[in-house]
Symmetry: D2
Subunit: 343 residues, 4 copies
């Protein structure tokens, strides 16, 4: 569609173009389709860049990947807690960071805000997502990130890469699709993968994965067979079988229709006491300490970030009571042979 200006914006209201997205069984979000910037098909998926209420939006196979409205809420939450936790534990910045997925480049953009990171290895399956993002979503990172000498971009299967990888990383970040049936990323949510990831993390390295919807509120029709469609707790359970410390956290991402989950996992700090104490130390960091870490380790400090800071940290790591309740009752583990699927 034309990519010009306000007048058209107004006119658009007259044209009933819509983007309908399934959010859950019996729940559809219908967004006015203000513009289609680009549509293409890769070897793996349909890729669309559109404009809706949430602004510019990347869609693959009909699922919103991220939006101008709140992509930073997601990407800052995925990246800075693990990197700054590494700084806190080790008293130094991470040097080598791995990103599985991340084709939009925004995850790399956030990692590269850490000037002491020397090398980012990013492995994404779909070159077309990267190319489309560079051309149509420059605010996500674009050419500036792509051409960073610190970034090594590999087009390939992150799961295969990790299994065959013999190098170590200070931080491993999995920025991948939700574990849906027949989805390409399902293997990246298994105990087997986590076990291998643990072997290639630096001694006090930190691992993080996005973990899907996470509001913790039980489905109201559970008695009538309504399925829980989240994987947050199973992902956290599975990581807890592999790593001594696990810190689940959440962040509101309105365009995803829900609080969104992340799970960080890491080895105990040698100097400290129990893993629980280590995890708790991070969770309950006071706001000022987080702000100090940001000031120390991130380029432009707090000015660079729009979502994450000391107070937001408190919010992210203070899980709601229903989510904590769910964590005490849902004991599912995700393995190659017994995967768990989101809707």
């Amino acid at each position: 569609m034309t990519d010009t200006n306000d007048g058209i914006q107004a006119q658009r209201a007259k044209v009933g173009f819509q983007f309908r997205e399934d959010m859950a069984p019996g729940l559809v979000l219908e967004m006015e389709l203000k513009q289609i910037f680009h549509s293409t098909e890769s070897q793996y998926q349909q890729i669309d860049v559109i404009d809706t209420y949430f602004g510019k939006t990347l869609i693959t196979d009909g699922k919103t990947q991220s939006t101008q409205f709140d992509e930073y809420a997601y990407h800052e939450s995925l990246v800075h807690p693990p990197l700054l936790n590494f700084c806190h534990i080790n008293g130094r910045a991470p040097k080598r960071v791995f990103i599985g997925g991340g084709g939009e480049l925004a995850t790399a953009r956030e990692v590269l805000r850490h000037p002491e990171v020397e090398k980012v290895v990013m492995v994404d399956l779909d070159k077309k997502v990267v190319d489309v993002s560079i051309q149509y979503l420059p605010e996500w990172g674009g050419e500036a990130v792509r051409s960073s000498p610190r970034l090594e971009l590999i087009i390939g299967d992150a799961y295969e890469y990790l299994l065959n990888c013999e190098e170590n990383f200070d931080v491993i970040i999995l920025d991948i699709s939700d574990p849906i049936e027949a989805g390409p990323g399902i293997m990246l949510y298994t105990k087997e993968l986590y076990e291998h990831a643990a072997t290639i993390l630096s001694p006090n390295g930190v691992f993080v994965t996005q973990a899907g919807m996470a509001d913790g509120i039980p489905p109201p029709h559970a008695d009538a067979g309504q399925q829980d469609i989240t994987c947050f707790v199973p992902i956290r359970n599975t990581l807890a079988q592999v790593f001594p410390c696990v810190s689940p956290y959440t962040q509101s991402v309105p365009s995803f229709g829900s609080d969104w989950g992340f799970v960080m996992a890491y080895s105990s700090k040698e100097s400290s006491g129990s893993p629980e104490a280590t995890a708790m130390e991070w969770i309950s960091m006071d706001a000022r300490s987080i702000d100090d870490l940001i000031q120390t380790y991130i380029k432009d400090g707090e000015k660079g970030l729009r979502m994450y800071d000391g107070i937001t940290h408190r919010r992210m790591f203070a899980l709601s009571k229903p989510l904590r309740t769910q964590m005490t009752s849902d004991t599912r583990i995700m393995t190659k042979d017994n995967p768990v699927f989101m809707y």
Copy 2:
């Protein structure tokens, strides 16, 4: 529709009944309409009780009021922070509580969990909402709440009632519709009303109002005239002109499609220092102190509550950075002559 069982649930999928709700301009949430339990029309509005993904749901004039899925997230957040803050400030439970609106009875249900509350005066315009809630939403409170000797239910205009009221209340709770143009409740969001409310609060009384959508994320098309459709910050600003202490807070309510805002306001505690210090003391209460307050002042203590506890408190009062950023730039005040409208 039939109100029987699972079989029908399954069949239902074949019938394309839907409930479509406007969430924002260009944003519609379409929910499978599994059942209509009741539909009626009062003098003021259309009232429907239906079943959707979010379970049993009360709808007035096409807007979701609350759902089985997460009504407790809203009602506990509206009630317990102000009541427990009163306890904290005064070292005793509130005795007299006023509820403006609240026809679903769930707000009264939460207030009545405080055994030392002697009198709840609730003023709602629409008797039919109360009757429908008693019959079709017993989980919200129902006859048990309605017939409590501690509850005085007055059918009438909460605004008029407050203006003419000469009694004092320890806590005033406004559980009213969002301030939309031509909405009945718009006067309950004005500086003039807040000024009057301040005069009928007990010396160290606490005032709270629901305050609509509150994710704080600026609309992506602001440059092209996309309107901010929230009122959270203007409500907080207006209360801050009247009360020395103001504590805004938010809670995720998924069926409302967003983080939801509340603003609490109160006088400084005499013994303490500045109003800012008083507000900050509450905001930064440690989790254990909140849990102690719950244990002391609420019937069945933490077992009675599903959402609010010490850790959830941390989450609710740690506002996200975008919301705090918005609070520094949006200076709108709501008065009779210059109201501010939500979408």
Copy 3:
């Protein structure tokens, strides 16, 4: 929902209840759901009576069966052409009429307008459809039709009934669901059934079946594999293998979203010439002759009918060019072993 008055009708606009019906692949008709009069589930299907733009509507398993707006367009077209053609061929009214399906009772209503019909045997699978129609759709026929001494209503499988039937009928009417995959009526659209039906028709008897969508316009994406979703021509082809005369015809039924097809089949009139001539004689009857037949054989004559008369007859039997074109190219036959399915 309340079944009262206009005021509510107006209010309803505020409530986003909708009925969405799949019309074809990628084509949904969304109707404001003004009211649900009744919902129930039978052994065979979900049954709903609702109110939409098309007025009172019977829905089974999410598919519109007929609406207040245009049910008479469908039912008059199904019944009067075969009955009056029988009169025309035989010089007397039919005495015994069979209806397969017809649970709404409106087909029987139209048959009973013919005072000389002595016996109508109607076989429908689903007693609940009949009961719901009597209670909620009295305009369709209701108790007046149900209690007619001329009507024998049998709850059962019309296919089985016909196969085992040894009595003769002057007219056989199949008022059954479209031939969709896994639908109950698929066997009623086979050459085998038609062959048997031919054996129990009176010597100059007439057979008619509804035949689904029939606009004849080829799907625009046929090159890209877009399927023709109609069965009208295959049904006509199949009947033409069994009966010497076949007269396909169509009638616009707006709530079905298309011109709707019917196929009449009958033996040649002994006295006349070729079957083609017999069929053509009926098709090209002048308007006055049809009006005369109506006046002679139908109670209240033309006043009783809202759709069918001499001029409408011309319209119904003058098939559009695309439909005639399709009839020259689509040679599919429907048999037990090789059924053809509609969308």
Copy 4:
């Protein structure tokens, strides 16, 4: 979007792009938006060329103008009856034809099938519609029609042009938007315009206008104030006040969701008897005579046409009984001061 091939077609199903069109109050047709070929904005309207179930489709301001599926049904019905009626009345082909509107060029395409037409004057307001149609809808006529030496295309207001026109035309065709409130074409549906048109018609000239939805079925909620949203009968009434002969007719155009109306008007043939007889003569022409006219006057004869022929003619001019019933009761006239609006 990409304009390549089948694979994408299939993928598309995964992406929930939809085009929603209001058909009537409380009635929305939702079509899968398979592709957007072009979107632009002219001085007058938003113009989109998309692909849906109905194939390639031209949309202006959110309303379907015509589709690959059935544009010929509309355009052949608009053009050939008046031109062939002129031939029939005058014993010769028309020489000069006027088209008001017609920017898609398909109306001119059909007129140019008549080799003896020497001059087609076409006046359309919106050059962009013409340009977009040439580029994206070549099947509608495109450059071949645009560059015909017999076509004079004038960008301007057809109403003004006609009022100031002093030349005569054998046939005048109005292919304009429906008479909706605030629509540009409302003046082209007034008695005043028709009176002027009559003065510039050749002595035995023929006038035709498209006339909107025309199923004739009364709205089921008429008692509750449900409005008749058609203008077919008022247009016919108004023409009947100006012209001695008026022939209304209809054609099913599925993508318009209904039978569609046209009204032809002309002077009595001098040699014949009453105007009624003249009109009736045309309406009841036998199929062979129409086929002969087609063979005589249209290039490639019947092979050139996909919808109109002798049998389709019978169908088009045999109005359904409800429509004829409506014509006896609806006496509205459309004038400058008292226009009538469609939905």
